[in-house]
Every structure is written in C-alpha cells, then in structure tokens.
C-alpha cells in the first residue's frame, strides 16, 4: 500500500473547501451557532492528511484569508491559524492517517484546539481579548462530528 501516490483532483479539494466555507457562513440560531463545528478547518485538515500535495499549506492560507475577510476578523488571523494546523497536518499526515476513526477524532481535537488557541492568542495580542469558555466549544463539537465529516468526504473520491 502506498498512500503517497493517491491522486486527488485539485477541483475536488477546492470545491469541498469552498462548500465548507459557505456552510461556515450560513446563519444559525444562537445556540447552534456557538457549537457549530469548524467545517472549513476540518475539510482542510482532511485533505492535507490524505493528499498533502494537492491540499497543502497554500489552501489553508487562502481559505483562512477568505474567512478573515468574510467574518470581519483581522486580516491574517484565520490565515495564520489555518496555515499552522495545515502545516502540522502535512508534516504528520502519516501519523494520523489510516487510524481508527476514534483516534482520528482525537487528532482532530488536538488540531482544532491548536487552531482556536492561535485565534485566541492573536485576539489577545491585538487588544481584542475575548476569554469566554464558549470559544473553545467548536473544537469539541468538531471532533465529535469528525467521523461523519470524514466519511462524507471519503465518499467524494474513489477508495485508495
């Protein structure tokens, strides 16, 4: 088995990431909005562990920047956080791939917490501190729905 040769079309990666970005922007009632799983981050993580060549750090940076603009955050905040976790995923993709789903969820939790941590740190440094416990919830909800998201994304390409 050679996972490194899996060929994933770039269109698929960009298309699913764009869909995830749009889903991130769809307004939800208050409670649901707070626990909304970070689908964009999860999609980018999925592709960068599965196909680190197609979905690379550039995708993390580009979609992070799009999120900055669309959500009115500081330019570069989500870009930095997302390219950071993408970098980790590309670096450690062999570690996290082909593991039981439960273990993958655990990896996803760590990555999502790191992502939220970078956002939190930048918020604090730039003088917009926001220390509510609620901001860490999406990482946990994201890890909880990781098997579902990974399963759905797995159906979009032929099995390895």
């Amino acid at each position: 088995m050679n996972f490194g040769t899996t060929r994933i079309s770039g269109w698929l990666v960009y298309g699913t990431a764009l869909a995830a970005l749009l889903l991130t922007l769809v307004p939800l009632p208050n409670l649901l909005a707070v626990i909304r799983p970070p689908l964009l981050v999860m999609t980018v993580l999925y592709w960068s562990t599965l196909a680190p060549r197609t979905g690379g750090i550039f995708i993390g940076f580009a979609f992070g920047l799009a999120l900055d603009i669309l959500q009115g955050a500081q330019l570069g905040q989500h870009a930095l956080a997302l390219s950071f976790v993408t970098y980790l995923a590309v670096r450690l993709h062999l570690l996290a791939r082909a593991k039981p789903l439960f273990e993958q969820s655990l990896f996803a939790l760590i990555a999502l917490l790191l992502y939220e941590f970078v956002l939190w740190a930048i918020d604090g440094w730039s003088g917009h501190p926001h220390n509510s416990v609620l901001r860490w919830l999406p990482a946990f909800s994201g890890a909880a729905v990781w098997p579902v998201v990974a399963g759905l994304l797995g159906r979009t390409h032929s099995p390895r």
């Binding site: 909005a33 500081q74 570069g76």
Partner: protein, 323 residues
Amino acid sequence: MAFSGRGSGHRSSRDSAPGPRFAVFALLSLICLYYDQRDGWLGSVRYALQGAAYPLQWLVNAPFAGWQGLRSSLSTRDDLRREIAQLREQQNEMAVVALRMEALQHENAQLRALNLAVPPLVTQRLAAEVINIELSPVKQRLMLNKGRRAGAFQGQAVVDARGLLGQLARVGPWSSELILITDPEHAVPVQIARNGLRSIAVGAGNSGELLLPYLPVNSDVKPGDLLVTSGLGGVFPAGYPVATVTGIKRDPVLLLTQVRARPLATLERDRVVMLLWFDATHAAAPVAPVASDTLPQVTLGAPTDAAEAEPSAEDTTTEVPPP
C-alpha cells in the same frame, strides 16, 4: 525509503518542504496582522478583497432572500389587505405624533432664543438590508448590503425605527460591517433623558444587553429610565434613544452602581436598517473628537499661578498663557 520508491520518483518540489512554505505563509499572515492594525496601505487591499468577497456573501444570502421573495409573492390578497389596513392605522398614529412634533420644535427654538427655524439634523438617509451571514457568534456584528459605492463611510451612525443600532466598522465597495451597540468592544456615550446625567453604555456581548459601568453608587438612576445619546464622542448625534434601564444593583462595598439596560432597537430581528448623514452645523450634530496634538500645550513642572493658568470655558483652544 525503500517502500516508497515509486512515490518519491515524481514528488513535486511543492510538498517536499512544508517547513519553508509554512514559514513564508506565516510571515505573510504576520505582515497582514501588523499592518491591518495600523490602517495603512493594507486598507486598500482589504477594501479590494471585501469587494471580491461580495459574491460569496450574496451566495450565502441568496436562499434567504429567495425564500422571502417567494413568500411575499405567494401572500394572498386577504393578507395584503390586512397588512395595508394595519400600516394605514400605524401611519395615522405616527401622523398625530408628528403634528405635535413641529410645534415642539418651534417652541424649543424659541426657548433656546434662536428665534429661527431649526434646520433638520438628518440631511440624508439610506435604507440598507442585512445580509444573512454569520460573522462570529461571540461578536455582535451585522453585514449590510450598502458600501462605499452608496456613500457609506466608516463610523457612520446606523439606526432602526426604534433606536440606535450601532456604527459602521468596516466599509467595502458593496457591503459594510455594522458593529452593534451590544458588542463588548463598543461603547456609546449616553445620558439619562430624565435628568441629563451622562455616562457611557458598554455592550455586554450577549443577549442584547448594555452595561453602564461608570456610574457612582449615589447617582440618580431608576429602572425604566430612558437613555439617549449625549452627542459626545464624535460619532452619534445628541438625543437618539438608545436603551431603557432594566436593572440596578447598588452594592455598598463597591463605589459604582451596576446598571443594566436593554436596547430599544430590535437588534436580533432587524432586516432593514437606516444609515444616517448629519448636518455638521446643527447644534445636535456629533462633535468631532479633538486630536491630542491640537490640545493646548502645558509645560509640566513649572509652577503656574492657578487663577491665571486656568483656561476659560470659552476659549479652550488658545494657548495657556505662560506664567
């Protein structure tokens, strides 16, 4: 590397070095973060990107707009009749209120010894629709579908039919970001309409609430008091209704009263909001904040005669005479 010999043959140079690539993008992000704080040349980059992002915002909003359109086109004749009757009734009520309004304005002008018609404060207004887009659940922001092309500017006051909503934080070509008065980073200078007591209302960040954290424990404030803008701060004109006081907690241990207030504007349900332009020469227009470098220079350390050095209320902009 024996087992991956096939794969390494056509490895592109792109993924062979994730470290340097990450370093480049991290540096780029940090540069963006640094300059975005300082409103420099990045402002125009952001403006352009915001324009490029508008189609995406439109796309997310489209199902909601479509649903609204479908609903209004499917509404029956009876529904429309009822709505027209309701609106007529409302309009009659408003007209009766407005009858007294003009008389009151004249009376006010006479009391102020102006003896001339007061020009209207609002010179121009523009309705903007709220784009259905999630900004951040923890921030109290809205996206509006009017931008610089429609004349909107940063810091512009936004109201709805009931009261003050907030101000424009970022303005793109076709869209702009409204920061609500309930956002934890927003503060609006207010005064109590009953007695003119001035304070600052800070957003509580959740559930549409305002806090007045700077009122002394013995201040005259009661539940039900109406808070209006005081006109200080240089953004909002004086006299716009903001909120009503809902709860007061006086703790003898603390020096300050803890006052909560509920905004009058229906922040959660607004779909159409109003951008306002003001006549700068009007008495109630917002006073532009004085930049610190135009304040009178006072040399510290040198002993001054208090009576002589005290600047009079009329000419605070003149230099303090040297002792």
